[in-house]
Symmetry: C2
Subunit: 200 residues, 2 copies
């Protein structure tokens, strides 16, 4: 982050396995560009956040009524945003490797393309995002080198992801997507425009 | 409900202790009237719904990060809607008696006024909505007879409220506010306009 750059910036915290993060990932670039806001993509893992709340899987699986509602809500929202929707099997997907690969990408210009390719593979095509070949295709689509899959499994990247999750929890993030502007937190795809409007 | 009446109708399910239900209660009449939609006010209790999920209080108390966020989110939304906001003490308030009184009101034209008076007492004035005198003032504000407080404690009303909660759970309601149009469920004040737009 360049201290001399006055472009307003939004932190976009997401988990690759999160349904509503898919909506935001597909929408945020256009919405932010319309307002002259730069997006900082910050993948993290909800698993440890949920574990700290005593959950061993997605609350959408633990609470069936909430889960059934979420899929109906997602279907309505995807129709509105003209996004395809396929329910991943299993749900939630294992997002650990995808998050590590995202953190391994050194070029910020390639990160959004990779992230969107992962979300599309998962929620449009129904592919397994813990599959190395799927992630390789996503790297390729983003113009990133395929050997980042090996980098992703190095101790440096593993600990970077642990630090990212730790930072999320310290900053009060409890779900995804979350949008952070300094100390101001917005939770959920429903708040994307509010968060951007505050910056613009 | 008059079978010959073609006015579109939305069911507004809420708990008097619910923060986001306060927002919807204060907004729904204008938003619905603008679209020619009639509102059916359906008070219920979240307590038994939460208990069925293994929670003995509001999730906003059980999960501190979520709770802290909710109050910040409410502050932002109340500012937008020009609504006062006071955090009730204790939170959540005991909403059982208020819900029973609402079900005891025989005149549908008095029900919205009573409900809004209760929400205002709680979230604008910070009053205790389990207090008989507070509820009597709310009945008075709605032009309803004060002896409904006695009716509220009769077996008929008690079982009507139990049936209302049972119906909510059977229809997949897991939180408040919820808006129901036939089989279509919308959860949260954020979905009020979407639900109304679907009807209009």
């Amino acid at each position: 982050m360049n201290g001399n750059d006055r472009t307003p910036q939004i932190e976009f915290w997401f988990d690759f396995a999160s349904t509503y993060s898919y909506l935001s990932a597909m929408r945020i670039e256009t919405q932010a560009a319309n307002r002259g806001v730069r997006v900082q993509w910050r993948p993290f893992l909800l698993g440890p956040v949920f574990a700290a709340q005593g959950w061993n899987t997605s609350p959408f699986n633990i609470y069936p009524a909430k889960g059934a509602y979420m899929w109906r809500d997602m279907a309505r929202l995807c129709a509105r945003y003209h996004l395809p929707l396929t329910k991943p099997d299993p749900f939630p997907q294992h997002s650990l490797l995808a998050a590590r690969v995202a953190l391994a990408i050194p070029d910020d210009r390639q990160l959004p393309g990779f992230c969107k390719a992962v979300f599309a593979a998962e929620f449009a095509e129904g592919l397994d995002i813990s599959d190395v070949q799927v992630l390789q295709t996503c790297l390729c689509a983003a113009g990133a080198p395929p050997d980042l899959l090996e980098t992703a499994q190095t101790p440096g990247i593993k600990s970077a992801l642990r630090a990212q999750v730790e930072e999320a929890m310290q900053r009060g993030i409890f779900g995804a997507p979350s949008f952070v502007l300094g100390d101001e937190l917005y939770w959920g795809d429903d708040r994307l425009d509010d968060a951007l409007d505050r910056l613009a």
